[in-house]
Symmetry: C2
């Protein structure tokens, strides 16, 4: 059973669940990936912790991690990019596999581009300030294009806030504008490095999604593989 | 934190999560209902247990119930109508509130109709055979209209199976036909008493949903109220 540290935000967790289900080759209930999902949003705000020295979410995230493992999770995933600032802290002492969403999204971006391609980022200011994607993309030989402060303030962050409040119709056009801005400034591909971003983009017509890596979808596909591998491993051990 | 005994099927659990989020008045993550969701579909098939004396899902459901309570659930809900055949067994010895989806859906149907109104049922053959809705609707002074065997075999059950396999485009028209059939045969209102049914119906245009009680939505709204009451209770106890 895969444990999901979710609730950051709840709609992103629901979107992740949908994408895991859609990515699973299943004819009936039993063939789906068993998940134990903590959709508990009572986690200190990640942006405030990173940008303003606010209360750290780490103790709460550790508590949720351990609760999921104790309840039977044999691997963990966390569908929130910003929270990956604490991923190495969460991996330390973790008794089950816990792959990084950042690595998975960057692998997906690398697979779709060539050496030295320019990767645009749709992310929270906190994810950008923490530099979560810079080293990971550099390690894969890719250049990073960050949004301007103006794009962040007038399009990207308002779109994310609209999703968190369930206002998808308002979120969509702002997110589309943010993605288009990155493409206009030379991005060969855009990573939707915030799990609210694909929800916003899905709310507007057009084909911008085709020029993006959806980090939620990449994590969902990796989750299905993780389960298939562990199920195959169990079958082998049982044989 | 509300525990969710889900995975029957996974898409119905995702739909339930969406409906809880949409029913919550929230501006930001922290205001959402904390949920711990078992989306573990490894549960013996409910229809086979009821109709053919197959393996009972009860031991597995009890295990999931206790796992959720041990992990901190302060109340439980189960977004699957057929599994409510075992609801009283699950309530026995349960240390936290565990309202019945059947009662909640029948309350919603009663609130929208007058005495002796005729309520059509969209349900699995197992839910119908177990008579889950008959006594509950009779207790509310409502008459029950069951689907014919032909409707079950050619429209309702294939639509449910299509949803479980993710084929919503095929599920939609069949479910619409099943609902329309109940209305044509005199139903004043139709209860979508299978959590796959509203997913199918949402996949077709038209206003049939307006003539239905969505049991998933009714449970989602009850879940938000359950959380608000328990949160208010906690605040009072803390005062």
């Amino acid at each position: 059973m895969i444990g999901v540290i979710g609730g950051m935000g709840p709609l992103a967790t629901a979107d992740f669940l949908h994408k895991v289900i859609a990515a699973t080759p299943a004819e009936d209930d039993e063939q789906h990936v068993p998940l134990l999902i903590s959709n508990d949003p009572r986690i200190p705000r990640r942006p405030a912790a990173i940008l303003q020295g606010g209360e750290s979410p780490l103790p709460r995230l550790l508590e949720i991690r351990d609760r999921l493992i104790q309840a039977g999770a044999t691997a963990l995933v966390m569908p929130c990019n910003t929270a990956h600032h604490w991923h190495s802290d969460l991996q330390r002492g973790c008794t089950v596999p816990f792959p990084s969403l950042i690595d998975i999204a960057c692998d997906a971006a690398a697979a779709r581009t060539t050496e030295s391609a320019c990767i645009g980022l749709v992310a929270t200011r906190a994810t950008l300030a923490a530099g979560l994607f810079d080293a990971a993309l550099a390690a894969r030989g890719r250049r990073v294009l960050r949004p301007t402060d103006a794009t962040l303030d007038t399009a990207m962050l308002p779109a994310i806030a609209h999703v968190k409040a369930g206002r998808l119709a308002q979120a969509g056009p702002l997110m589309a504008q943010a993605v288009q801005g990155l493409l206009d400034h030379g991005a060969d591909l855009v990573v939707l490095a915030c799990t609210e971003a694909p929800i916003a983009l899905a709310a507007v017509p057009g084909d911008l999604q085709g020029q993006c890596v959806d980090s939620t979808l990449a994590l969902a596909e990796a989750t299905v593989r993780l389960w298939q591998q562990s199920a195959a491993g169990s079958a082998l051990r049982g044989a």
